[in-house]
């Protein structure tokens, strides 16, 4: 995705056990912070189909 022009930080992958509540909170915090830092995504967004 990075290659096609979507910032790397928009996609996170993590392995969290149902018992790891604190890790879950940390990861969610990290993800939202990273995405807020990037701002709204403009690439790969379709609001209306382009038609002539």
């Amino acid at each position: 995705m990075d290659f096609m022009g979507i910032e790397r930080d928009r996609l996170h992958l993590s392995w969290i056990s149902s018992a790891e509540a604190t890790k879950f909170i940390d990861v969610v915090g990290e993800v939202t912070a990273a995405i807020k830092a990037l701002g709204p995504n403009t690439n790969f967004v379709k609001n209306k189909a382009k038609a002539a």
Partner: protein, 384 residues
């Protein structure tokens, strides 16, 4: 060329022309003007005040039709455009209606027509074959029974200035497909490049208005124009080296061609992409789709292709043309037999040669047409 082939060419063309001319109005008192290359820009600027101009423009590595910007000029030096002019009247994706699902709005779930700009447009520099193709396509969109408003409005808004084709490609076979490099049928103005400029000859009232709007007023007599055009026309026609044989298509029984042994060989190489249908100026099939984003939606129509399995897939899951060979046969049967039988006006092909050039695996309509024209002579010799 053998005499027999020459005869086919002549009769085929004559018959097709006679029929197609019924579809549009010509003027008897045609007006002809001469344009000096210096005055070309001036007239073009004047036209831009009245019309939106579409012309071939060199894009990356090919010529394509495009709306000209303020300071842009048509690029008339190329061979045939990669895609045909079909999309100018009948875009690949065209919005038909919009709708909203937002129930707080009074017009929710109601289709509203799309405002499309049908102000006067002019297409400058398309080839006569592409113009002729509009008349074939008109058969589908503008019938006594059904009128397709999108196509008709766009077509009526358009004035077509065709550039006589002095450098046909080796794949062009317009002269045996009812058209020709200087063919006027379908044009509003015929434009011929001469040594020192252009000759513009109006063929319809629309064309006369365009010439009037341009300010090009160096009028010459039709006889004088004819004298200059004729040798160029003959020279161009002589450059066309390929021919399709169509004389037997009408007489042959449809089922004889349908069941002929050559279809498996013709279809073998086909990868069932939509290239031939998308580059074709006379392929008219479309698919209607609704696309909704959040609460707002568009009903649009997109070019479709009989090469795609989805084209005929039923809701039940049954597909009457589920096999590749059936789809390949359908495309050629439609163009070269069903159309011929239904409209009695030659084949549904203008001989632009685009499908021949664009096919990734070199399936050649000229060869297929010959096979269909003489199905009894065809063994499994599709590739010979």
């Amino acid at each position: 060329m053998t005499d027999a082939r020459h005869a086919v060419r002549k009769t085929g063309r004559h018959q097709a022309k006679a029929n197609r001319q019924l579809l549009y109005k010509r003027v008897e008192s045609m007006k002809v003007v001469k344009i000096d290359k210096k005055k070309w820009d001036q007239g073009l600027a004047a036209l831009k005040g009245v019309y939106r101009i579409f012309s071939p423009v060199k894009m990356k590595d090919a010529f394509e039709f495009k709306a000209l910007e303020e300071n842009e000029n048509p690029d008339l030096g190329g061979l045939n455009t990669r895609l045909s002019a079909k999309g100018l009247i009948y875009p690949q994706t065209e919005a038909m209606f919009t709708y909203t699902l937002d129930e707080s709005r009074e017009d929710h779930h109601i289709m509203s027509p799309v405002e499309t700009d049908y102000s006067p447009r002019a297409v400058i520099g398309l080839r006569p074959c592409d113009a002729d193709a509009f008349l074939l396509v008109q058969r589908n969109f503008d019938t006594p029974q059904y009128k397709d408003p999108y196509w008709i409005d766009a077509y009526e808004a358009t004035t077509i200035v065709g550039l006589a084709c002095e450098n046909p490609c080796s794949t062009c076979f317009c002269t045996s497909a009812g058209s020709g490099p200087f063919n006027e049928t379908g044009l509003d103005v015929l434009m011929v490049e001469t040594k020192d400029g252009y000759i513009l000859k109006s063929v319809t009232p629309k064309g006369e208005s365009l010439i009037a709007a341009s300010g090009w007023n160096d009028e010459i007599s039709p006889e004088e124009a004819q004298k200059q055009i004729e040798p160029l026309k003959t020279a161009a026609e002589q450059k066309i080296s390929s021919v399709v044989e169509t004389d037997q298509l009408k007489n042959k029984d449809a089922m004889t061609i349908y069941n002929a042994p050559f279809w498996d060989d013709v279809a073998f190489a086909c990868i069932n992409c939509g290239t031939c249908t998308f580059v074709c100026p006379t392929c008219w099939c479309f698919d209607i789709q609704d696309e909704t984003h959040k609460t707002e939606g568009v009903r649009m129509r997109n070019w479709d292709s009989c090469m795609f399995p989805l084209f005929t897939l039923h809701g039940s899951g049954h597909n009457p043309r589920g096999e590749k060979v059936q789809r390949v046969r359908q495309r050629f049967m439609h163009k070269l037999k069903y159309y011929v039988d239904k409209y009695n006006d030659g084949i549904q092909c203008v001989g632009c040669g685009r499908c021949v050039r664009a096919c990734p695996v070199n399936i050649d309509i000229r060869k297929v047409c010959s096979l269909m024209n003489q199905p009894e002579n065809a063994t499994c010799a599709a590739q010979s």
